[in-house]
Symmetry: C2
Subunit: 337 residues, 2 copies
Amino acid sequence: MTTKKNGQTIGFSNPPAVLGAAAVVGPKEGAGPLAGWFDVVKADRLLGMKSWEQAETKMVEEAVNLALAKAKVRHQDVDFFLGGDLLNQIVVTSFAARTLDVPFFGLYGACATVAEALALAAVLVDGGFAVNVALASSSHHDTAERQYRFPAEFGIQRPVTAQWTATAVGAAVVGPHGKGKVQVTHVTVGRVVDYGQKDPMDLGAAMAPAAADTIARHFEDTGRDPEAYDLILSGDLAAVGHPLCVELLERKGLRLDNRFVDCGLMLYDDTQEPVAGASGCGCSASVFAGYLFKNLEQGRFKRVLLVPTGALHSPTSCQQGESIPCVAHAVVLERSG
Amino acid sequence: MTTKKNGQTIGFSNPPAVLGAAAVVGPKEGAGPLAGWFDVVKADRLLGMKSWEQAETKMVEEAVNLALAKAKVRHQDVDFFLGGDLLNQIVVTSFAARTLDVPFFGLYGACATVAEALALAAVLVDGGFAVNVALASSSHHDTAERQYRFPAEFGIQRPVTAQWTATAVGAAVVGPHGKGKVQVTHVTVGRVVDYGQKDPMDLGAAMAPAAADTIARHFEDTGRDPEAYDLILSGDLAAVGHPLCVELLERKGLRLDNRFVDCGLMLYDDTQEPVAGASGCGCSASVFAGYLFKNLEQGRFKRVLLVPTGALHSPTSCQQGESIPCVAHAVVLERSG
């Protein structure tokens, strides 16, 4: 076996395929610019359930089942389920895992979770430890806002740097090399980076250095130029963080130009009230499972670099005056043939 | 490559070695029956820091650095750090990952986290994706009690079913096959099991079915008898959950007899006030990194089955009337030669 790892980047010798993916989103996300790319748009955020948490759980279950159906993988042929969400003790993912009833690895990578799940799913498949791995990453506006900030009903005024936690789930099934058109060829696993930012109402600024660090390391490890990618997407840096990341990358001598976009800036348009853009584990996950995967499958993109970003703080750590540690992982998705 | 997976169990073709392990514990754990097996016993739970969370972070950093020193692995040769804790958004592990400054996979498996980390570390090494993987799992009595129940200073009376969250960290370094005497030969990854128990003051009863499910599947998948193991350790079922697990296993036709013990019943003795026993991510992690690893290394045990158990609830999910989903993963640790 040849060495698969260079620096922080794993290159898969037999790149696992993304066999299917599905995005289930809330009404606001379904009214935004990417509406046509999502598989299911919910008419309301409660889904007729008794709690926001139950609604989010239902959305995860639906997204995973849809991804399995599209991948033509039967439930009994799923080796592992990997996933996570924003809630304390990732309860939503654990509840969905209970319903799915397959061996479960719970992950916490905040809004970078979908990349962590894609990386470990590809490792399990490429290493010969699994045939099919299901994964999901979710967030829900009301569960997250109540937990991290204020209940949505409180109607507090949001600072211009604040992002809107998306009600969205992205799910996928990763399987054997050659079984699907879209492949995971590389992952660059991020280190935790913290520039000392302490304001949880400005997470884009906190996460920008982690994104820049992982992106720069990806190019260093692979020896590639930005031109190798049709599109480079950061996770949810949004209106404040994305330009900061551009600046940090330019200081490292990297110009990504127009191909560098941000999932947090793609989910809503200017008329939709979210101030700086979208965030949440479901933001980059739904952009991946909806927009990215389908454009790759349909051949409009040949190769993209997805770099979900996560802020690893808690309300307690912020109240205690700690700064916000952040992480970003990069995943190369490539259309074969 | 031959098939490595049977049912829920992965058998490693080149079993990765545990190159080193270290347990750092608090004063109560250091006054218990396993005192002599721990590497560092702290004189107080605050470690001179400003918050319990900072103290727990320091303990994680110290345990990982000690494990690296014992493994004779330099910091720059660590490919990945895997770990988790009980706190919201696993902030303690994220803060420690920031200090360690290596590519990081955050995990959440509640008190089963050390098994999830050992499983994924072995997958990364056996699959050729990493040479050295560091891992840690921690809990701290005061950070966890305040978050899940009441601040310790409140002095609330505890029901007889309640367990005492251990102040303890277990860390280890997993590396190449043949490099160390203690190997990870198999892991059985658990499904989420929930028998409808809703009382967060009786987590042993909630977790017992998950432990029984994973243990039974391990024997089914491997075709082994319980006699194949010198010791079988559940994570932290404690005084209520452990006998329930014995009963559930007997109904499945499995008698583990005296070789079946519980980490939650090993950490404290009867004079130490904890009612039903110990719990927390650091409970099975410190028993593994202290007692188990050293006994295997010194040849007193030949082969053990470690089955950490986790309750995947949150205070919010319990307040909302949800039952407690649980998980258990089994890890086979074997002395080579």
